[in-house]
Amino acid sequence: MSEIKKIKNLKEFSTSADRFEGANLLCPGCAHSIIVREVLNATNDDLVIGASTGCLEVCTAVYPYTSWDASWIHIGFENGSTAVAGAEAMYKALKSKGRLPQPDRTPKFVTFAGDGATYDIGFQWISGCFERGHDMMYVCLDNEVYANTGGQRSSSTPVGSSTTTAPAGRVSYGEKKEKKDMIAIMAAHGSPYVAQVAPNKWKDMVKKIQHGFQVEGPVFINAISPCTTEWKFAPEDTMMITDLSTDSLVFPLYEIIDGHELNITYRPKNVIPVVDYLGAQGRFKHLFKPENKHILDGWQTRVDRNWELLQRREEARV
């Protein structure tokens, strides 16, 4: 078992050994790089990192450069999970055969992928990896849209969001379908640890990532990743938007242990109305027209209902 890295404060955390360089092509204000740094900085162990095709992948490994000071693989859009699972299988094989280059190391196997690669096209591969129980962590950088290709809807896109394939128009308020509950689905796989994290709550994030690294088996982390480009807010407002998302409970922070033990890990002191979160982003601008009031109302109802459900599940301990 590897040692848990001690992290005293944000300054130390944000300046500890970087295995993900600031030299990358991500948009200014993109939350992806913040989340990735928070994940990687949570451990001192060696890493094998997989990336599915998406913003993070195309912005961080453009030949002949790389932003990663760690072993890294990208195959395709759908199979970042299985790429890492394959590497993990090889680690096990070489370990049992005594052929690891550095047998005393305790590497961690991590996949980063967007919501398109996770909720949609890579869904089957992830399910396979989790059913087989590979010792790996899957981190979904959830920006609720195919951002890399210019803002098309995914099954993570929330109701009312305007995307390029489900735009708001004269007769449409944008996305009609509710966001897929990927966390519940992954917990249902019997994963030892599933959690939702947000980059603004870094202590909560580190705790969850470290927990994920300590358990054996496939761990699913859903990280809210506000997208300045597609959510349409100013690049300097990323953390403000993230705060609104967690404090409005649109993105509640919680964990599910062994598929059943649910713990809410952040309870905002002052819960803010959902409209404050929606109103701060251009993708929901049209919802504030009078004819779309029912969509706004529906949003608040849904968030309240979900929060109630999470609390009841936490109490039930089943």
Binding site: V62, Y63, H74, G86, A89
Partner: protein, 406 residues
């Protein structure tokens, strides 16, 4: 430590068992696989070896063929010996990742038990899946029988993993005709077979944390062409020397000789059939029968499909007057692949033989001795006339009126 299996000098194996036994002997580190007819027994046999303690490595039963090759890519990039098997629709599902495996220069060995592609759905052997992979940047070796399937598996690891090559290899065998037909297969004992294949020597392993490696980067118009060109260059120039070395070493060890193309009585032949898979063995038998009647017939078997042995083909067919190319895949609105590629290899030759094409055996339809005799007879007419006397593309063995094109 895995138990050894004492093999008889000659075992009665079908092609699938021959391939699985060679895989077992190669001491593969990771097999990620998904079952599909007719290659399923390769995966089952391997699982059986594992269950009985004859294998040490990891065996990952994934949820699709796409995931099988994805897992193989991750495992191979991590730094160890990797192989799998598939057929037909599974192969088609894998295609995206085939290009990624070869583009990342990963020495994965893939047994492709050839089967038709739907629609209509068909589980029997033809070469449609094999043809689908021919631009994927893999080395493609062709087995004519179970013995070849065994031998070529051992050879494949040694070629793929050679640091001058570093390219994945497919071994093709005909679905059912080879994969499910029990034959006598001459074996190597486990130690001998492993000694021939040799230890895996990692290169740019992701699990070497002192020297982290990056796989699968983005390259746009600035570098993509150079990467593809280098891969093609290595396929064209680096593979043959290594392969010929490995063939020679294998012959020394077993007495069984492999060449880039199989030259059966071509040196003084007037008419030749060019074929792949089980048809090669049948055509050789027919050529021998015709020779007894004084007909100068020969056969060229495509042992190596990719890299396409262009110069070698021109050389062995240089004195032949008529060449009949046998494509076991529906060409989908074009001449057959073999017709086109053999013609290309012969177009600039001094004697430029007459080349005709035949499409046959789709969905497992038999290629009989009688059909082959008829094709040789066509070739003889062409040789005498010095020009085609038949249409350039004939469908052989299909129901209804004779189907000819071109």
């Amino acid at each position: 430590m895995a138990e050894k299996i004492d093999l008889l000098e000659t075992e009665v194996w079908d092609g699938n068992m021959a391939a699985s036994q060679a895989m077992r002997q190669a001491q593969i580190d990771v097999v990620a696989a998904y079952p599909i007819t007719p290659s399923t027994p390769v995966v089952e046999n391997y699982g059986n070896f594992l269950a009985n303690g004859y294998i040490d490595g990891e065996f990952v039963m994934v949820e699709s063929e796409h995931a099988a090759m994805s897992g193989c890519i991750g495992a191979s990039a991590a730094g160890g010996r990797v192989a799998t098997a598939t057929s037909s629709q599974g192969f088609a599902l894998m295609v995206e990742t085939l290009y990624q495996a070869s583009g990342m220069r990963l020495p994965i060995v893939l047994n492709v038990v050839n089967r038709a592609l739907a629609a209509p759905l068909n589980v029997n052997g033809d070469h449609s899946d094999m043809y689908l992979g021919r631009d994927s940047g893999w080395i493609q070796l062709n087995a004519y029988n179970a013995q070849d399937a065994y031998d070529l598996n051992l050879i494949a690891f040694k070629v793929a993993e050679n640091h001058k090559v570093r390219l994945p290899v497919m071994i093709h065998q005909d679905g059912f005709m080879t994969s499910h037909t029990a034959e006598g297969v001459k074996t190597l004992q486990d130690e001998e077979a492993y000694a021939f294949v040799g230890d895996f020597k990692p290169m740019n392993a992701m699990l070497d944390f002192e020297k982290p490696a990056t796989y699968g980067v983005q390259t746009e118009e600035d570098w993509h062409f150079e990467h593809k060109a280098r891969q093609h260059n290595d396929l064209m120039t680096k593979v043959y020397p290594v392969m010929e070395e490995v063939f020679a070493e294998f012959e020394k060890k077993t007495g069984r000789k492999f060449d880039l193309v199989t030259n059966h009585r071509l040196d003084d032949a007037e008419v030749a059939i060019v074929a792949m898979g089980t048809t090669v063995d049948t055509a050789m038998m027919v050529a021998d029968q015709l020779r007894e009647k004084g007909i100068k017939a020969g056969v060229m078997g495509m042992r190596v499909i990719r890299p396409f042995p262009f110069a070698k083909i021109a050389e062995v067919l240089s004195n032949v007057k008529a060449v009949c190319c046998m494509d076991r895949s529906s060409p989908g609105g074009a001449p057959g692949m073999l017709y086109n590629e053999i013609s290309g290899a012969l177009y600039n030759s001094a004697k430029r033989p007459v080349v005709t094409g035949y499409v046959y055996g789709l969905g497992g339809r038999d290629m009989t001795v009688e059909y082959l005799k008829g094709i040789f007879a066509d070739g003889l007419e062409n040789a005498k006339a010095g020009k085609p006397t038949t249409p350039l593309q004939q469908f052989i063995g299909v129901r209804g009126p004779k189907l000819n094109f071109l």
